[in-house]
């Protein structure tokens, strides 16, 4: 008997009575507010920021204003040039040179200020979203879901993407004497641009 068969056999003989423990219905609990205001409050709580549009400025102008020292701006969206496009990035080593990465999220979650990214948004170079120094995420107010329950029941991406990350603010750590540090090993900052 191989390990698989052995483990399964042991589980079958040792488990508690399966008929006693029923599966509860799917839970949709909590605040159903899916407003931009709630999303922004949550995002700020996780250390993320909104890249505010000043006057009539374009995204390109806002990125240039927010990151004046950025040399390599990698765009993963068709409607924004950057200094190079993600399709021209062929390796993680090359992606690691990126100062600012611009990407469009298919949805966000109001409860947590999270944005979702998958291989579909990253041209299959999933590491690019983490190797860049800073991330700018384009999000539409129409695509905010209320909370984790609604996200997992409404969004098909969880059933289709091979790699799906909910990013809630930038990378962070509190491993050194409990001091919270935003910008640990992944992106140093995460900004949301409303479209």
């Amino acid at each position: 008997m191989n390990s698989r068969e052995m483990i399964l056999a042991r589980l079958r003989s040792n488990r508690p009575d399966p008929d006693v423990y029923l599966l509860p219905d799917i839970a949709i609990l909590g605040d159903q507010d899916r407003s931009r205001a709630r999303f922004e409050t949550s995002l700020a709580g996780m250390g993320g920021a909104v890249l505010e549009r000043q006057g009539e400025e374009t995204l390109a102008a806002a990125v240039a204003r927010r990151f004046p020292d950025a040399k390599i701006i990698c765009s993963a969206v068709p409607d924004y040039e950057g200094t190079l496009h993600i399709e021209d990035v062929t390796s993680p080593q090359q992606a690691a040179e990126t100062d600012v990465m611009v990407v469009r999220a298919p949805f966000g979650i109001a409860e947590t200020g999270s944005v979702f990214l998958s291989e579909a948004q990253l041209n299959h170079l999933n590491s690019a979203a983490h190797l860049a120094q800073h991330l700018v995420v384009i999000l539409s107010e129409q695509n905010i879901t209320a909370n984790m329950h609604t996200a997992y029941t409404e969004r098909q991406e969880f059933h289709t993407a091979h790699y799906g990350v909910l990013m809630s603010g930038p990378s962070a750590t509190a491993d050194i004497q409990g001091v919270l540090i935003r910008g640990a090993q992944g992106v140093r900052s995460l900004s949301v641009w409303w479209e």
Partner: protein, 463 residues
């Protein structure tokens, strides 16, 4: 030779003597507990979430073979290689074989309690594979040759100068560096080239989803997403109890996990892996290592509901004042004290006694494990199996005789109260009473509740 039990009390004593470390440790963990409470108070549905989480886990554990098979079928369909490891040795062999097949010499990994449980680094490194922990706290512990002292914050027992010393020895940074930002930056700078040149990546995982063949990794630093996506070869290791039935069930667990752990509404990264990335390869190792046996233990199987948030550790007065390393085990704190004896009953026979039985662990547990009751039950099991030292056994026998008989108990209490006021210190704070170490007994009440009730209420009722 019989294995010696961990001397938790003695290790705790050493920890208690270092006032600055003790003070920080106690306050830091209590701060995490308070932040957890704040999150709990924001959500009116908190108790319902806990009840749901518990029900889902109990259902899943009772249907574990079916859900594991469902997970395996779906994961395979999506191109994931699924392996089954009966024990730690098999887990390490499987990981080693995958790496060997790819001629991988450098492995980057994120935090995983299962790989600690299997002592995987100890297996791979003599075989010429360099294993680099990429989580900051875990890396500090690796460089300092220590086990993680907490399931969520592995280096929580260290202060800034301790980290500065470890980094100075390994990263050539200033040993007098006192800015945590600079130290965290040193880790980023040191880790990045290792990550970019590594041959393979490894992660643990928080959840397996049977319905979709997905596994989910919840982290904060970004190192797990780097470790899993940069090399093209991703090995993930998870205990078989990590499974839940449906994608929608994740809502319940993700909402509870980080709120219970750190008091943040969600981890910075919640990553769902459902298949290999383009051109890459993905392996999942499902680890038993005693779990299927634990499932058959009537009093203890519900400990398999644990989602490793560490809330029970943060709230435990004994853990906060003894430190994770004093438990001498991979899993420390209240949850560790009920898990560890299933790995080695004699070695960890002392751990279920590292508790005041205040029940706080049970109250904060997001999946409603009756931790303090299991601690009590372990004490009984260990007593029956003669894994308790003579003095403790005899004192418990005496206490059992007295407490079992109300008349004897009341007589004893009355004389104890009289005695507590008059006894010399040596009678109370001696080697037979480890409780007297590093703490003072509260003053004894002048009168027991029983005698007060007899004098006041009973009289009034009669009158």
């Amino acid at each position: 030779m019989k294995v010696k039990p961990v001397n938790h009390a003695k290790a705790a004593e050493v920890f208690l003597q270092d006032e600055p470390h003790l003070k920080f440790h106690d306050e830091r963990l209590w701060d995490m507990r308070q932040k957890r409470d704040q999150q709990m108070h924001i959500l009116p549905e908190w108790q319902e979430l806990r009840a749901r989480a518990s029900e889902i886990k109990e259902h899943t554990l009772a249907h574990l073979p079916e859900y594991l098979e469902q997970f395996e079928a779906n994961a395979k369909k999506n191109g994931i290689h699924v392996h089954w490891a009966a024990d730690a040795g098999e887990h390490n062999r499987i990981a080693g074989e995958i790496l060997e097949k790819h001629r991988a010499k450098s492995l980057i990994k994120s935090k995983s309690m299962v790989t600690e449980e299997c002592d995987m680094r100890g297996y791979l490194e003599p075989r010429g594979i360099t294993v680099t922990e990429t989580d900051l706290g875990e890396r500090i512990q690796q460089l300092d040759n220590q086990m993680p002292s907490h399931v969520v914050v592995p280096a929580v027992h260290k202060l800034i100068p301790d980290v500065a010393k470890v980094f100075a020895e390994n990263y050539q940074t200033d040993p007098n560096e006192r800015d945590p930002h600079a130290l965290a930056e040193a880790q980023r700078e040191a880790a990045r080239p290792v990550i970019l040149s590594a041959d393979a990546g490894m992660t643990g995982g928080n959840f397996l989803v049977a319905e979709t063949g997905t596994f989910v990794v919840c982290t904060n630093e970004g190192n797990a997403d780097l470790s899993s996506t940069v090399t093209g070869l991703h090995i993930a290791t998870l205990g078989i109890e990590r499974i839940i039935p449906r994608m929608a069930d994740l809502g319940v667990f993700v909402r509870l996990l980080s709120r219970s752990a750190l008091g943040s509404p969600i981890t910075q990264y919640t990553t769902h892996f459902r298949g290999p990335q383009k051109g890459g390869e993905m392996h999942v190792i499902l680890v038993d290592n005693g779990r299927s046996q634990r499932l058959g233990m009537d009093d203890f199987w519900t400990s398999l509901k644990c989602i490793r948030c560490g809330a029970c550790m943060n709230t435990c007065p004994v853990y906060r004042r003894s430190g994770g390393l004093s438990y001498g085990a991979v899993y420390s704190g209240p949850i560790g004290s009920i898990l560890d004896p299933t790995f080695n009953e004699r070695k960890y026979s002392t751990l279920p006694f590292a508790s005041t039985m205040n029940g706080s662990c049970t109250n904060v547990c997001p999946v409603k494990i009756n931790i303090h009751e299991q601690l009590y039950k372990w004490r009984r099991v260990l007593a029956e199996h003669h894994e308790i030292p003579f003095v403790k056994r005899e004192l418990m026998r005496m206490a059992g005789r007295i407490m079992g008989k109300p008349v004897l108990y009341r007589a004893a209490i009355n004389s104890t109260n009289a005695a507590l006021g008059n006894l010399p210190r040596v009678a109370l704070y001696n080697w037979m009473n480890p409780w007297g170490k590093n703490r003072e007994l509260p003053p004894a009440a002048k009168q027991s509740f029983h005698s007060w009730y007899k004098e006041n209420r009973l009289k009034k009722e009669k009158a």
